[in-house]
Assembly symmetry: C2
DNA sequence: GGATAATTTGACCGATTGGTAAACATTACA
DNA sequence: TGTAATGTTTACCAATCGGTCAAATTATCC
């Protein structure tokens, strides 16, 4: 008889690694659109191209799949903020942070939407991570920004709301993609869309945060 | 025998008005958190304090409830943008648009989340409205902004992305409320939160869009 | 090649889903 | 006050939900 995956202690099989990858990929497709409650195991199984019991052989519950997915996304999602360098030039650090976040919205829109879905539902599965590691990281970087402002390198501003505004403006292009596309129309829905956004956002934030000598 | 509501042609009863209001209120509670697929009629019925068949007497399907809700929200949601005055002072128009949007995020977070949920799912129920009335309104206001920029009243910028950035930054405080709360911590989660946000955003946008003489 | 472990499947379970039918209760109005 | 229209409830339906089980199949390793 097969031993349930979670109870196993030995190393993972080649098949396990492959199948789990396929499943998480399919789960990302489904969860990112319909959220946790709105998604069904059958949907995911169909996208993954395997039977439902087979899926449940690798992840014993729907929650286990969702958790595995969230854990993975949460880590990579914060990488741009981790790369935010206290010793770099303020203006170029902010500029490249915006660019990195925008690239993630372009290259990983499903991950962005998965996270957004979780937030909309009140973060029932990740509230601890928000209050713990996330808050700690943001606190650290906010202090960096605050120091820059104190030293006159950028305009005085609330560092937390600055971070929020970078998050929201960049992720908007992933989460509200339909709306952006509908408003811009077919003529501006190509790849150049992200270049336009990057140019605009860099102007907004860099000019908005530059010290005024007037 | 009772005639299904949708087939009726006569004017609405007092009871109808009251009950439909109660139902939509409950539906907003539920849909805004769990999205369309993730919400159940039973949940809504429980929140509304009435039996499921009674609910279905007023709205014959789950979709009908959702549609009624979306239609109502969509209209009021665009009011701040409609109020955007082409003849006003650019700086104060942008300033008060931000403030109005932020007030809506504070006072109607459920409406914001309902809309966000719909966007995340690819706007299956409102794509026509986005491409039609919404695009038309945005096009009109974008032209106003473009004229301001051409006449040197504000910095040159892409008016569409400007509007997107105001939408995203303000709605963020409703849609990602959990995250904002978690990051700011209990000490900054009071009412002053929105004042801080307003101050920061006005600074960001006004300075970011002001003409530079350097 | 055979034994053993890992994987896959079809049949199935109880609970929940969106929605219906019809009996029953209440209201509005002449 | 009677009665017809409106409103509410109980009982129920087929479909789908998350998940289990045992049998069948495949991969692994000596």
């Amino acid at each position: 008889m097969a031993i349930p995956r979670a109870a196993r202690t030995q190393r993972r099989t080649r098949i396990q690694e492959e199948k789990e990858e396929i499943i998480l990929e399919a789960a990302l497709d489904v969860f990112s659109v319909s959220g946790f409650r709105g998604s069904t195991i059958d949907q995911i199984a169909e996208v993954a191209g395997m039977s439902k019991p087979n899926l449940l052989y690798y992840f014993r519950t729907k929650e286990a799949m969702h958790r595995a997915l969230i854990d993975r996304v949460l880590f990579t999602w914060l990488e741009p903020l981790r790369a935010f360098d206290a010793n770099g030039d303020p203006e170029s650090e902010i500029r490249s942070y915006i660019r990195r976040k925008l690239e993630m919205a372009r290259d990983f829109p499903r991950e962005s939407r998965l996270f957004a879905n979780e937030m909309l539902q009140g973060a029932p599965h990740v509230e601890d991570e928000l209050r713990g590691p996330l808050k700690a990281l943001v606190d650290e970087k906010a202090e960096v920004i605050r120091t820059w402002a104190r030293n006159g390198k950028i305009a005085k501003c609330d560092p937390y709301h600055l971070i929020f505004s970078i998050w929201s403006t960049t992720q908007h292009y992933a989460d509200f993609d339909v709306q952006v596309r509908a408003v811009l129309g077919p003529e501006h829905s190509g790849e150049g869309r992200f270049e336009d956004a990057a140019r605009y956002l860099e102007q907004l934030f860099v000019d908005g945060l530059r010290i005024r000598h007037s």
